[in-house]
Symmetry: C2
Subunit: 338 residues, 2 copies
């Protein structure tokens, strides 16, 4: 609609102005406070856009905080505190109990205190109901001399991803199919559905990569989109062998097109994609665990754009799907972020 996507929109109307060392366009803004550096990030989740109306309050609360913590993870920040703005359709004590219980559980796990915010009436969607809206601002701390954004990648760097990609997008497709009343094949394992409903912010990895990663982003819009932001902001390109992109057994069972779509352009994984000098390989592999493997999927090159090729330099077939990250205003329906 008007040819502006979200990123164009932000760049055009809301370019930041000064004191922050990084800002609009990175996962986090960084500000210096005395000898300390804070990472700040804010995300808004809207009912019917970022979560389904029948998602449980515990899942919604988890996700609202997790997506913000995931931005802190990309910046290598240690979580410190957060503010919560909540537009509520009604005051339902059972709903609030479940919501706040889940929220506080995730907050405690990461030692990230709720320090303030606002509650208000939800936007009315009918005379008797409204849409839940949640906005969270999370604040973390990063070492002054090791700030990391999306612009530090250099040609020659390796490209890495954490964990497996595609489960969350697969789960979204299944939820939409269910909503349409489509008969599903075999039900997806809980482990796949939970990649959508209970994303795990990669805080420990993000902090472990301090001094190792040259650039990082969390994968909220899909690998192509989020790696694309790193490439654009760093002024380089990447050669990626899509066959190396790690995925689950559930994704392996999909047809080729769908497999490529969910692993490369699916959103909501909240894994990290990061770049690092090849001299760091051993140190990075030391951070890899059976629960959260780290996989090198290619390397950066001078030539701008994403080039699909084998790690040995031979070209491989480019994925057959249209590899654009989706954005809200060009028909996407899920979570997107500057």
């Amino acid at each position: 609609v008007h040819g502006l996507d979200e990123f164009g929109l932000i760049a055009r109307y809301f370019t930041h102005s000064g004191k922050a060392r990084r800002g609009v366009g990175d996962d986090c803004a960084l500000i210096d406070v005395g000898n300390h550096t804070l990472a700040l990030t804010s995300d808004m989740l809207v009912e019917g856009v970022h979560f389904f109306s029948d998602d449980t309050p515990a899942d919604i609360a988890h996700k609202a905080l997790a997506v913000n913590l995931s931005d802190l993870a990309a910046a290598g920040a240690e979580p410190r505190c957060f503010l919560l703005d909540l537009a509520l359709p009604q005051l339902d004590p059972a709903w609030l109990q479940a919501f706040s219980g889940s929220l506080m559980q995730l907050a405690r796990y990461f030692h990230c205190d709720l320090i303030g915010g606002d509650t208000t009436q939800a936007p009315a969607t009918s005379p008797t109901s409204g849409a839940l809206v949640i906005a969270i601002t999370a604040i973390g701390e990063v070492p002054r001399d090791d700030v990391r954004g999306r612009d530090g990648a250099r040609a020659g760097d390796d490209v890495w991803v954490s964990g497996e990609l595609g489960d969350a997008a697969l789960a979204v497709r299944r939820r939409y199919a269910q909503a349409r009343g489509a008969v599903a094949a075999a039900p997806l394992p809980d482990s796949v559905m939970q990649r959508l409903t209970r994303p795990q912010p990669r805080i420990a990895l993000g902090m472990g990569l301090r001094g190792l990663a040259s650039a990082a982003a969390d994968i909220s819009d899909g690998l192509v989109g989020d790696l694309g932001h790193i490439l654009t902001r760093s002024g380089c390109g990447a050669r990626i062998d899509w066959r190396l992109v790690p995925h689950s057994q559930a994704v392996a069972a999909l047809a080729l097109d769908e497999r490529q779509a969910v692993t490369l352009a699916g959103g909501d994984d909240y894994e990290l994609v990061f770049t690092a000098d090849p001299s760091r390989r051993e140190q990075i592999l030391a951070l890899s665990t059976p629960e959260l493997p780290l996989t090198c999927i290619g390397s950066l090159c001078q030539q701008p754009g994403l080039h699909w090729s084998g790690l040995d330099g031979t070209r491989c077939d480019a994925p057959s799907i249209p590899l654009r990250p989706f954005t809200h205003f060009s028909g996407g329906t899920h979570h997107d972020r500057p």
Copy 2:
């Protein structure tokens, strides 16, 4: 609905947990970062709840940032930066131009940089439209040894307000009357309407009161409500002569009941109510200007609650309106805040 008001809700489900020195229940949360102390506040504005659908984008943007800066003013903080979350019904370049222009103008005036945030699709209110939602988190800095919240007031302190109260509530009533198609009397002066649409955060006053005020709040819910929070949190009461509460000529022209309602229980003024030891009177009056007069309206006492009396100790007639601050969930329609 269920007997929970907003404040009960926050206290019950979202009590903050630790590192902040102040938090849920104050205008701002305060966190220590090295030798510095930051004040953080977050407010969400919802179309149809906090502003009218036909308000101009410039007015909406101004108000969204101003109400957050007003919280910083109450805490005596110097504004530093803010994050903006925006749920947009559509991408309208003219609307965005007007919105961002007004937002950035106010931000520049207070040297408060936009450092990040999120844009997303608005909650759908019909298949073709949605409700605008704006959440802003503002960050300011306060002196480490002079933090000020709502809990420092003591019996014997004077009670002061800045400016004039009631114009914003009067403007709201007029807007609702217009929306209902009611024939209005003489139109209100622009100066009155602008108290609603263009509230001025009292940053300079807030900083000027460092070391002078024992407690402060901004008047977003009405004098009775916001002074009431100070009294509750400070464990004291107040004797206020309502005839001393300053108001404009437009308010003076109202019938007694309506005059009391808009000055004492009307919201959206965004003036400051603060308390201070009587020994500070001269220093406080030195901050009073013709543009922003400071008025002592009473004093604090041991006996809990609000007591209406003359400053000379004689009782005066209690206002005849039901002096409860409105809250969203008990039928109020305007801006409310923890």
